[in-house]
Symmetry: C2
Subunit: 327 residues, 2 copies
């Protein structure tokens, strides 16, 4: 009898502790929909049950796991690299787009289009070994501070999403990043920031080669685009890299539209496995940023229109999140 | 007291059961080296200890996890597909390389070089949806029988390697395939045959695209090479796909040379983490096949010469393996 009592006490306290796996999410329809979905796919014997091996969740990164305004953080990294390397490249003072970068005239850079942005990115990402790249990105991530949010970029991650990732993993999900950002840049911080290991990061890549340099193996990052993991590239990246259709996909912009379609649209009439599409709507100008249909960074327009007909959850950041960033 | 006795009995029986994790491996230097390595990297507090997250093991597939003689099994699949589709392509009767395939003149096909082989492979792998490809490969793998070994191709896997994969996983390793074979072909059987999930398969790939077809998402496999995961491509594939240097790599041919270099060669004088390179030497003409330096399929020549100076283990199939195939 005493043992039973103690067992009952333990049982209560465990339930109390486990009661809210998403403490930074306000109670409401959004949080309830997520909890209901996870319960459905993990309830053995239930109609929606999915074996652990098939519990794949894919998350966009920029604007979904960490902030992306006023410009993608990886662009800030690239610009800082150009500045840091400028002494070794006197020709940049008179050559675009570097001239405008060094003059802090980002409007002029943007005016030169995608080719200019790619040139800047290549300076920061190519013509070096993988180890050299990793060291330079790690150094920047350890120190660089967001101009408006006043905290390191790596601390501009969303606390509610950290909780969602942990909650999914605790329920047998394998969590992946599927981002338009650079795969190698992401891998430098994804494990520490999100608990997502390098092998579960899918992103945009440049080509690479292998050689023995003075007898030591090196990977050399080449200044040539390999794969663009954005828009229709996201389902392709998932197919090539993961090889399994996700059970849950979360994004925040039109760049995630196809990933959410690929994840959630039934393939035929027998395809009734529960699948969840989630869009994060940036509605919080006070605590973060508010933007959607007109934004040049992270535009959310077509996907927002498609959300209701597809049954995707739309997170209203201002309303659904009690906290935005970790303490 | 009685409880202690029972505990002691249980403890003994557990030890006895766990005594030999590699029962199909004969006792000897090879087996001992593998067991010693795994003990070194998993002994907490020991000088060679490696955290679980970094325990990555990569295995070649053809001739390493399953047989590859007299021709790569995926080529047999491609040839069977050409034959199966021939009725819909009357022009093949007079067009090479299909004419030679339909005449069962594989020598004539080989004489037409790599371009002919690629043409045959594309018939079997491209211009269809991912689901259509998977269905055709699954159908073939379920039924096709190896001409000499007299068992289904999927049953031509090596029992000792199945045990090694399980043993590594039981010790916290994540096991990957890194193969020159097609990534999508491998994924159809790797999970069932080896316990390796799709997201842990790295291989040669062709390009793919995404579209909504009658409102349903499809991935379409394109007749264009994307990435060749062989020779110097293997370290690149590991870098792009896994993003971590393996702790153990196992191969059987010169196509694996660079993967073994990349895995085992120290990067600098401080780099003293134990790492293991393993080569499977096909020495068993009675039970499987015997081939190495002169073979056109799975040639093992340069890597065999390099093995002793690099400290790679060479499995002598005839001597080290008590069993070759599962019962």
């Amino acid at each position: 009898m005493r043992i039973l009592l103690i067992a009952a006490l333990f049982s209560c306290s465990t339930t109390a502790l486990a009661a809210d796996p998403l403490p930074s999410w306000n109670d409401g329809d959004t949080k309830a929909a997520i909890l209901d979905f996870v319960e459905a796919v993990t309830t053995e014997g239930g109609p929606g049950f999915v074996p652990i091996a098939e519990r794949i969740a894919t998350f966009d990164n920029d604007g979904c796991l960490w902030a992306e305004q006023p410009a993608y953080f990886q662009l800030a990294f690239s610009i800082d690299r150009v500045k840091a390397l400028a002494d070794d490249h006197p020709e940049w003072k008179t050559t675009e787009p570097f001239k405008s970068v060094l003059a802090d005239d980002l409007k002029a850079v943007a005016g030169q289009g995608m080719k200019a942005v790619a040139q800047i990115a290549m300076v920061a990402h190519a013509d070096m070994t993988a180890d050299e790249f990793e060291a330079s990105a790690r150094d920047w991530l350890n120190t660089a501070v967001h101009p408006k949010l006043g905290r390191r970029y790596v601390d501009c991650v969303y606390q509610p999403q950290l909780e969602l990732l942990s909650y999914l993993r605790a329920n047998g999900f394998k969590t992946f990043i599927v981002s338009g950002g650079g795969i190698d840049f992401l891998r430098v911080f994804a494990e520490e920031a999100y608990g997502i290991p390098p092998e579960q990061v899918v992103g945009t890549s440049i080509k690479a080669t292998y050689e023995l340099r003075d007898g030591v193996p090196v990977i050399i990052k080449q200044p040539e685009l390999d794969f663009v993991d954005d828009k229709a590239g996201k389902p392709v990246g998932i197919y090539q890299h993961i090889g399994r259709r996700p059970l849950l996909a979360c994004g925040n912009s039109d760049g995630d539209l196809q990933m959410l379609q690929y994840t959630t649209i039934p393939r035929n009439e027998e395809d009734d496995t529960p699948r969840l599409g989630i869009l994060l709507h940036h509605t919080d100008a006070d605590r973060e940023f508010a933007y959607d249909r007109e934004s040049s960074v992270g535009r959310l327009d077509v996907a927002l229109d498609e959300a209701s007909s597809r049954g995707w959850i739309v997170i209203d950041m201002a309303q659904d999140w009690a906290t935005i960033f970790p303490e």
